[in-house]
């Protein structure tokens, strides 16, 4: 018999969740926009050193807000962590300066790619290395590393990045993030608008970054199947609350997740979470 989300959530606290001394620990996070619009409520999760963690959820669940709360980019959208804590490598970082957050080793690749469109591919990479104060030799080596990871970028190194394809831009912005020497990479919807082949290329590169550099990754995705396939653990966010968490295999085997996020109904028929009323999902997950 399949476990419900609430059963799995409580069990995972003992078995699969990263320890409290993990690289990143968010505890009882509450985030509000303009001081009043509540977006995240009592959200707790963690990312251990060298781990890939998926944060799944539908549109408006609060996934991007969670990433921006970690990177502190939420501040320029008039958002703020109003309760709870975010601890990274032993330092409290909630509502910190985004510049300091990057220097600590956290970098976010924002949704929608956000290439510096009027700059060339190489200049995009140089901007990120300039921030860290990297020397010329190290910058060169890092750029070569990025081109080794995404060979197509080497071909277009002098091309204005605004004229790259969506997939190439996604590769470039991930490569650009690597230029900051991150210890924790935050990826927001890296598969958005890309073909299955490109999505696979991107995620394989993410796994390679994780394996070769030990970089921890927190990836936000609506494409649950792809995200879980490449992750060690995952969390499901609904309406600003974590409703399910577990290891990759546990989540992939979960009936609710299969039904609402992988589009496979219990009877074998495909069903989307939008087809099921909110109260029914909450009843199943929160108990």
């Amino acid at each position: 018999m399949q476990e419900t989300g609430s059963e799995m959530k409580s069990r995972n606290k003992d078995k699969t969740a990263a320890p409290d001394d993990a690289l990143l620990v968010a505890k009882n996070l509450e985030v509000r926009y303009q001081g009043s619009i509540l977006v995240l409520k009592n959200v707790s999760f963690s990312v251990a050193e060298g781990e890939i963690v998926a944060l799944l959820g539908s549109n408006g669940a609060g996934k991007s807000t969670t990433l921006k709360a970690i990177s502190s980019l939420i501040q320029s959208e008039e958002g703020q962590v109003t309760e709870g804590t975010i601890t990274y490598a032993g330092h409290r970082i909630e509502n910190d300066d985004p510049v300091r957050t990057v220097r600590r080793g956290i970098v976010q690749v924002m949704e929608g790619r956000r290439a510096l469109e009027h700059m060339s591919v190489e200049q995009n990479l140089l901007v990120a290395s300039a921030v860290t104060g990297m020397g010329k030799a190290e910058t060169r080596a890092k750029i070569d590393e990025v081109f080794d990871l995404f060979p197509v970028l080497a071909e277009y190194r002098n091309r204005q990045s605004g004229y790259l394809s969506g997939g190439q831009q996604q590769m470039m912005v991930i490569g650009r993030a690597l230029m900051t020497r991150p210890r924790l990479l935050l990826l927001d919807e890296p598969s958005l608008g890309l073909s299955p082949l490109l999505v696979s290329t991107i995620f394989n590169a993410v796994v390679r970054i994780n394996r070769e550099h030990g970089t921890s990754v927190l990836v936000v995705e609506q494409n649950a199947r792809v995200a879980l396939k490449h992750s060690d653990r995952g969390y499901v966010l609904e309406n600003g609350r974590i409703v399910m968490e577990g290891s990759r295999d546990e989540l992939l085997g979960n009936e609710d997740l299969q039904e609402f996020y992988l589009g496979i109904g219990a009877s074998g028929s495909k069903k989307n979470f939008r087809d099921v009323k909110q109260y029914r999902r909450r009843r199943r997950w929160v108990g």
Partner: protein, 295 residues
């Protein structure tokens, strides 16, 4: 005779164009580093001018006055960023533009309060000498001023293109939020650009105001420089030299050949007619960034 007239037009056009370029580059440095269209640029030139006049009148030697005024203007630029713009990082361009409109009104009012409405003589910094070349009477101070401005603009263009800080400031101009996501200090970039713009304003004043009567109304030079900004493009630095020369020579030619037919109106209208034409044909200007739409 025809050659002499042509040379006169070129001399007048190039030197006037250099003045416009000096003001225009102040606009572009701020826009190129923070995506802020600073409508108060003329007021920056006006305050720079009067700071120098006040310092010279109080006995400070002219070159010392220029250095002190440059420091003063850099400080004013930093204060504007700290007091007004810091809270607006990441906000829309319109919000930032409206903030600079407020700065314009405040600086304009301050200029009138502190320096009074009466015109004052701006001393000659480069002497009163003249050269006569091929029948054209050239003021040496104006030629020096033009050379200083050309060198300054070329140095700034090199800075933005080849230095690490220039690259980071360009990233800020592309997008505040993307720059922040990479750890670029957007506030520092905007602050530096306002300080640099303050210094440029002082140098522009020193280069071209010599021997003229100046009043707070000189701030309106920013509006005449606006066509240069739009012709060259808001993101270019070196391009303002070409924009300035085109507008300057066009205006001088209008003054020579069309003004007699239009009761002096053609040279006044020319820069603005050109501005409208540019906006219709090539909104990003000759060297500005073209918006890339992905469909």
């Amino acid at each position: 005779m025809h050659m002499e007239i042509l040379l006169k037009v070129l001399y007048a056009g190039i030197t006037t164009g250099a003045i416009y370029a000096a003001v225009a580059v102040g606009f572009n440095v701020i826009y190129r580093s923070g995506r802020v269209f600073n409508i108060a640029q003329g007021e920056m030139v006006m305050i720079g001018t009067f700071l120098m006049v006040a310092l010279i009148n109080s006995g400070v030697p002219p070159w010392g006055a220029m250095v002190l005024a440059a420091f003063g203007m850099a400080t004013i630029g930093l204060l504007v960023e700290r007091i007004v713009l810091r809270k607006l990082v990441g906000q829309s361009e319109m919000a930032l533009f409206m903030a600079t409109l407020g700065i314009l009104l405040v600086l304009n009012g301050l200029g009138h309060i502190l320096f009074g409405p009466e015109p004052q003589l701006f001393p000659e910094l480069f002497g009163r000498g003249r050269w006569r070349v091929a029948g054209v009477n050239m003021k040496i101070s104006v030629l020096y001023g033009a050379v200083v401005i050309v060198l300054l603009i070329l140095a700034l263009a090199w800075f933005f293109k080849h230095t690490r800080i220039g690259l980071l400031m360009t990233a800020v101009a592309e997008s505040h939020q993307t720059a922040r996501s990479l750890g670029v200090n957007v506030r520092a970039s905007i602050a530096v650009s306002w300080a640099v713009s303050g210094v440029i304003s002082t140098i522009a004043a020193a280069a071209f105001m010599g021997g003229r009567m100046v009043s707070p109304d000189i701030a309106s030079i920013a509006f005449v420089a606006m066509p240069v900004v739009l012709l060259a493009g808001l993101e270019t630095i070196g391009g303002v030299l070409i924009g300035g020369i085109i507008v300057g020579i066009g205006q001088a030619a209008s003054a020579r050949w069309l003004d007699p037919l239009t009761e002096g109106g053609a040279s006044l209208v020319f820069p603005f007619a050109l501005m409208l034409l540019i906006l219709m044909i090539r909104p990003q200007g000759l060297f500005g960034w073209k918006t890339i739409e992905r469909i």
